[in-house]
Symmetry: C2
Subunit: 320 residues, 2 copies
């Protein structure tokens, strides 16, 4: 893969160095029973165990620590459904600057509490993309803070790519790499890192069938948005930006869509067999392999479990 | 510490080599928010992420792979409240030999299912120590299988000690090491490894107040047993054997007892903040530090999270 495009593997390597002091190098876990279920050899990069409970800490840290002193002094602001907001607040606290987080008024309490615990200043908005963007712009105008978009940002994309780079540094001979896709920041970074390090790798995006706008977009050749995103995977309700659409169009081999039942089944298997807390959105990339939706039998498969922020008092597991 | 006693650090180093092909080198996780709550720097050795979901896999593997060919051919048998049984079944399957597991008829279904999934042959007994031992003896007499006691066994103790040895190999400068105590196998192995590698370390056993027989035994100078063990920590209901009592008397500095509420609070914090599934017994060793029951402020503390086998459909977390 050429380095003509930006962000590229060099940007990801630079991000690795920049974020290392402020993030966890998360463990790579394996499970014999999940290998049996999938027929593949699965290597799970556990971003649910990342600082703030999601991969979003990588991109946010890369963006915040790339600001000049002058920019940083003004603080940062973002529209976010939760995990990016928490991560941005946490990264801003590491740098000692303020973070304003715009959140829809129907966000789970657990995600709002996390943003506040990290010192973020929450401004609630209506649960529409327009209201979020308008509110962010208003806060930006009032405070002078720098807007850090959750995915439509090269530094964010490069930061998210560090998870795949770490996994490939540890397990080089992967055949397939799977990451979830929503706005496309993680999948963009993952595909740049994966194909940069190992050109023959197959990169697959995983998406709920009930929020399959990325699948439809790549098929149509232009960005498709949906009226409704009715999925338990509440972190996967954004749609692609031109920047991520261009990267995914160039580098992603397949988008695999999974049902709500498949998401919950994958989530339960991860909790039961691997003993880790994974949120529904975080379980989506495991679902294609565990439900044998992709051609992975006999292959070595890297999977990014993207997050673990879930309300423990309201789990989708019913008594047997 | 002298190597005159057995098992000693050499036995643990030998166990490390023996079990490595069949077990996970589990990750060591840290959490800034749990450090803040405890006032200490906590290093969690995640044996909940071990093969079979508990540290018991270490001892069982060491014992099974220490058998001669002739012994191994006869198979193995054990009385067990669950995790040791599952681990023995799994280790036996690795060696290609049968395992008979004696379980009380009130064992959680999730633990019985695990033993069966690993190919163990379950024989149910009454939930008394006597019934378990009698039933194990009967199976042993009938089949010729080798009895592998869950903790009253030097090879088991040496195997359990490998978790502490791994953590100290990775984080050498610990001030305190905490492990749960029930029959005393894990705490024996932990204290032998810890004091062998770092003589000045303080070793603390953690135990439910409602099953504080080890606390009482070390205080009294002889083994004390209780009539009732009324605790949510269902893996910590055994009492010491002369072998483990002798080791703990020599090497353990303190036993810290924790309430049922403190156990559940510690468990919830581990799930929420660290995103890992820990069973109540596995959370017990975190409870003294998280509830500031011990003098750990400002110290570097190793903690063995011993297991993660829990019924996900019946959790002790109520809605907020």
């Amino acid at each position: 893969m050429s380095n003509d495009f930006r962000p590229n593997l060099n940007d990801i390597r630079e991000a690795q160095r920049r974020i290392a002091p402020h993030t966890h190098r998360t463990p790579v876990l394996t499970s014999e029973s999940l290998n049996e279920i999938s027929g593949a050899k699965l290597f799970f990069k556990c971003e649910n165990l990342q600082v703030t409970g999601s991969f979003k800490m990588r991109g946010a840290t890369n963006a915040v620590f790339s600001l000049t002193q002058e920019e940083a002094a003004r603080g940062v602001v973002t529209p976010s459904s939760g995990n990016h907001g928490a991560a941005l607040a946490r990264a801003a606290r590491s740098r000692g600057i303020p973070a304003w987080v715009i959140m829809p008024n129907n966000s789970p309490m657990v995600k709002r509490a996390a943003v506040e615990a990290y010192g973020g200043k929450i401004t609630l908005c209506e649960p529409t993309i327009k209201s979020r963007q308008d509110t962010a712009a208003a806060v930006q105008a009032r405070t002078g803070a720098i807007l850090i978009h959750p995915y439509d940002n090269d530094l964010i994309i490069a930061g998210q790519g560090t998870a795949a780079a770490e996994l490939l540094d540890e397990v080089p001979d992967l055949d397939i790499f799977i990451a979830p896709v929503s706005g496309g920041g993680l999948l963009s970074g993952t595909s740049i890192a994966s194909k940069g390090i190992r050109p023959q790798i197959r990169v697959i995006g995983a998406e709920p069938k009930n929020a399959d706008d990325a699948f439809l977009s790549l098929k149509a050749g232009h960005i498709v948005t949906l009226e409704h995103y009715d999925t338990i995977a509440d972190g996967l309700r954004a749609h692609l930006a031109p920047r991520t659409f261009a990267i995914l169009s160039r580098l992603v081999d397949e988008v695999s869509t999974v049902t709500e039942a498949e998401i919950v089944a994958a989530m339960k298997l991860l909790w039961e067999r691997m003993k880790i807390v994974v949120e529904p959105s975080g379980a989506v990339p495991a679902a294609p392999a565990l439900n044998r939706r992709i051609h992975a039998v006999g292959k070595r498969v890297g999977i990014i479990l993207s997050g673990g922020n879930v309300d423990l008092t309201s789990l989708p597991f019913s008594a047997a």
